[in-house]
Subunit: 158 residues, 2 copies
DNA sequence: TCTAGTTCCTGTAGCAGCTACAGGAACAAG
DNA sequence: CTTGTTCCTGTAGCTGCTACAGGAACTAGA
């Protein structure tokens, strides 16, 4: 009767491949999430295959979205716990999100510092020989300007 | 005669602890760099301890600086190769730096998108009960708004 | 000379967050 | 019954480190 690959047992419920297709989350990743207890272990068919209901789909989409927004798995775990049966206040949820927002802001600030430095440096590129390359000048420590040709002097036991 | 912990063999040259202190790079990290061939294996004392010369110090500082600027180890390897004995043009070095700069820029752009979305969302925090939390609304997929209390229905073998 | 304390050595395992196998069992369709 | 697909478990790999364990080498003091 059903022509889609709905398989066995209770007819509603997806197998892992379908869940993966519907959520855009890799199969191996789904199993990984189960292993690290991000997702509850779903029931199985008699043959041992996982069957997922709408709740799991929803949870997985939640996780995926949160990952896209850069939340760590631990943060997501906390969010799921707050949204869960215990119930909590919105401000607790916001606290996690705000902390994450702070992290994002400081990451942006760091990257912008890098960007300024690097683009200033790259702009000086001369296309000439390497010894005068501005990029290498920024990278190499300015102090030790010693002769680069002093190798293999010490010993060499072993 | 020497009161500083310069040990054995040729008197110039640092042991790994001193190198670590001077460069600010963790001892274990230095050995790790050697293992993955970021740093050449240095000569050893008869007792088997590594002795580093000024070139190694310089290289390690280079690596550290490049890491601070967010270059990957592979990129740094490439930079070191270019700066090395083969010599290359400044534009080759700049090519690597420019690619890295592009990565930084797109990371910044991504993070700023996140930042806007998250801060807009967090701003709506009501401090009230969870069901109406704006953060969770953003995270949860808008489609499936089904009853959350339908668990443990399918089967439960195993 | 013996001993204590420090530094160093190798090798292995762990972190996040996956991804990619190998080798086998279960299923659907011809 | 066979073929092909999907699924299963378990393990190892990725990046860039960090942290151990268990032992060897060195220094300084008694």
């Amino acid at each position: 009767m059903p022509k889609h690959p709905i398989t066995d047992a209770r007819a509603d419920g997806l197998m892992i491949g379908e869940l993966s297709r519907q959520t855009g989350v890799n199969i191996e990743t789904i199993r990984y999430y189960e292993r690290i207890k991000m997702l509850p272990a779903p029931p199985r068919t008699t043959g041992g295959r996982r069957i997922y209901g709408p709740l799991e789909t929803r949870t997985l989409l939640f996780i995926r979205r949160a990952r896209e927004l850069g939340f760590s798995l631990d943060q997501i775990r906390a969010l799921l716990a707050l949204g869960g049966p215990g119930k909590a206040t919105c401000s607790e949820v916001c606290a996690i999100a705000t902390r994450h927002l702070d992290e994002i802001c400081s990451k942006i600030a760091d990257l912008q510092k890098l960007k300024r430095l690097l683009s200033r440096t790259v702009a000086q590129c001369s296309s000439d020989a390497v010894p005068d390359c501005a990029v290498l000048d920024v990278l190499y420590p300015p102090a030790v300007k010693t002769n680069t040709t002093m190798r293999g002097k010490v010993n060499a036991s072993r």
